[in-house]
């Protein structure tokens, strides 16, 4: 029996599967650590900045940790009440908004009926179509809006996470090198350097992507909220944050943000000129995004062709909905790093075993 094969392939593979199985089983437990890892990547450049100024590592970590969590708390105290009041305002006016939207749908229905007189074959089941749209829209809107408070409040583990995440983030920042050394220390000598390089490249790519996404979402949310607030659209913060988050989905995101603002304009019965204002705000935000944010923040992160990006976003949406669209490009760019190193390793010219070489114990320069 070939024990070498067993040792090299079967044992690592079965350990890998076991690890994967365990990870899936305890995924919810791993979530706060994953969140802490994300925060670690966002805060790490600040720690580096302080260390460059001569601060000791532990001191730099303490300063960054407490100031950033202080800022985050302040942010929550300022913005969470504002967002909550926007949400409760939508909920209290839900019936009014629903009637407005239903009115619009009826309008569209009559329009369809009007046009379908001429194209009776094409729109033979126009009534079904219109009532289907009406039913679906009503269902989705009611489910979504009435679900918001339960989404926000019903997550009890969130309170637990609020303790675990800062704790884990602090130790990731403080002991990043030690943790990395411990993990990678188990890799056999033969694969050590390749694993180290893979680990480093993945970390670097992950960090770039996360920081890019975070900065981009923050800037777009801020700009869109400010713009919508200036044109006096209702719920500017909610729509702005949605636009900022949606903007993370390449190509489709900006359209989704604009549509959300349009829906709010329809619900609150704004005059038609508001659509032009909204369009102008989003054109401005996208210009800033394309000229300043994307080239500086995201360009280094994902080096993929636009066609591949569109394909990946569509694939992501098919496989995992909105989350799939959001994560498609980051996952693809991480896979790109892994495949690049794997291919270098696979296509490396193979040599004969060293034991087959005839050893001459003289200096070659003298031979």
């Amino acid at each position: 029996m070939n024990y070498k094969l067993l040792y090299r392939i079967l044992i690592p593979a079965s350990l890998g599967f076991l690890f994967l199985f365990a990870a899936i089983k305890i995924f919810s437990l791993l979530l706060p650590f994953l969140a802490a890892y994300v925060l670690y990547f966002i805060l790490k450049p600040l720690v580096n900045l302080l260390e460059q100024r001569g601060f000791k590592h532990s001191f730099a970590v303490t300063i960054v940790f407490f100031s950033s969590f202080g800022l985050l708390t302040l942010f929550f105290f300022i913005f969470v009440p504002a967002i909550a009041s926007e949400v409760s305002s939508i909920q209290s006016k839900l019936d009014v908004y629903m009637n407005v939207i239903l009115g619009k749908i009826n309008q569209i229905k009559t329009d369809i009926a009007f046009f379908s007189n001429g194209f009776s074959v094409l729109f033979s089941n126009e009534k079904n179509l219109a009532s289907e749209i009406e039913g679906n829209l009503k269902k989705v809107l009611i489910e979504f809006i009435s679900g918001i408070p339960s989404m926000l409040l019903n997550i009890i583990p969130l309170i637990l996470y609020l303790f675990v995440i800062p704790f884990a983030t602090f130790f990731f920042l403080l002991d990043e090198v030690k943790i990395k050394k411990k993990i990678i220390g188990f890799v056999p000598n033969r694969y050590f350097e390749t694993t180290l390089l893979l680990f480093h490249n993945l970390n670097r790519q992950f960090g770039l992507l996360l920081r890019g996404m975070f900065t981009s979402a923050f800037i777009i949310s801020f700009l869109a909220s400010s713009g919508l607030w200036i044109i006096e659209l209702d719920y500017p913060i909610l729509v702005g944050i949605f636009a900022g988050l949606a903007n993370l989905i390449p190509y489709f995101g900006p359209v989704a943000g604009t549509l959300a603002a349009f829906i709010v304009a329809v619900m609150t019965m704004k005059p038609m000129i508001f659509f032009v204002y909204i369009l102008l705000v989003f054109i401005f935000v996208n210009l800033i995004d394309n000229i300043f944010v994307q080239p500086i923040v995201m360009a280094r992160a994902a080096n993929l062709h636009p066609l591949i990006v569109i394909f990946l976003v569509l694939l992501g949406s098919r496989l995992a909905g909105i989350f799939g669209m959001l994560l498609a490009v980051p996952i693809a760019s991480l896979l790109q790093v892994i495949l690049k190193i794997m291919f270098t390793e696979i296509y490396r010219p193979r040599k004969s075993e060293f034991s087959k070489y005839k050893i001459i114990t003289t200096n070659p320069s003298h031979s």
Binding site: F199, R348, K358
Partner: protein
């Protein structure tokens, strides 16, 4: 048939030990040993303390390959305990033993500067402990301490330049 062992020998209590616990005695050892290695002799105490955090301790058993000539390399190794043999592999399936490196010697330093393939094959001559310093870790360290990076790269360039000078001299001697 040559035997290729796993190479990684787990230190006692390596995993279960408290990662936050510091041993003063251990730090002293690190300092004296690293400051005796030519590449690090220009570094301050604090810089060496930072450097020792990114050093990987690797255990190699007798006849285990550290790396082969032509392999992609990402770092240098310093011989802490034991010794390693340096071989030059030729196309006619022969290899010349060039030298043996002992305590305090280092090899693979050019791969810190650029990712060129390894220029020789290194085999552990006995049970050895090598300290590895790798480019990815070093790049991370330079992010937080560029001064350390400057000193280290400057010293490394001096060593490489000196080797080039010696090589030129020996080439002139041959001609």
């Amino acid at each position: 048939m040559q035997h290729y062992p796993v190479g990684y020998i787990m230190e006692k209590n390596y995993f279960w030990s408290n990662p936050l616990k510091k041993s003063g005695h251990e730090n002293e050892n690190y300092f004296f040993f690293l400051s005796s290695v030519p590449i690090f002799d220009s570094l301050t105490r604090r810089q060496i303390d930072k450097l020792q955090r990114i050093i990987h301790i690797r255990n190699f058993s007798k006849d285990e390959i550290v790396f082969r000539q032509g392999d992609p390399g990402v770092g240098l190794y310093i011989v802490k305990d034991g010794s390693v043999d340096v071989y030059n592999e030729l196309n006619d399936m022969t290899c010349h033993k060039i030298t043996t490196l002992n305590h305090g010697d280092f090899f693979g330093e050019t791969s810190l500067l650029n990712e060129t393939p390894r220029s020789a094959t290194i085999i552990s001559a006995e049970q050895s402990v090598l300290w590895g310093l790798f480019k990815p870790d070093l790049l991370n360290l330079f992010d937080s301490d560029p001064k350390l990076g400057l000193r280290l790269i400057f010293r490394l360039s001096q060593i490489v330049a000196e080797r080039l000078r010696l090589l030129n001299n020996s080439l002139c001697g041959i001609q």
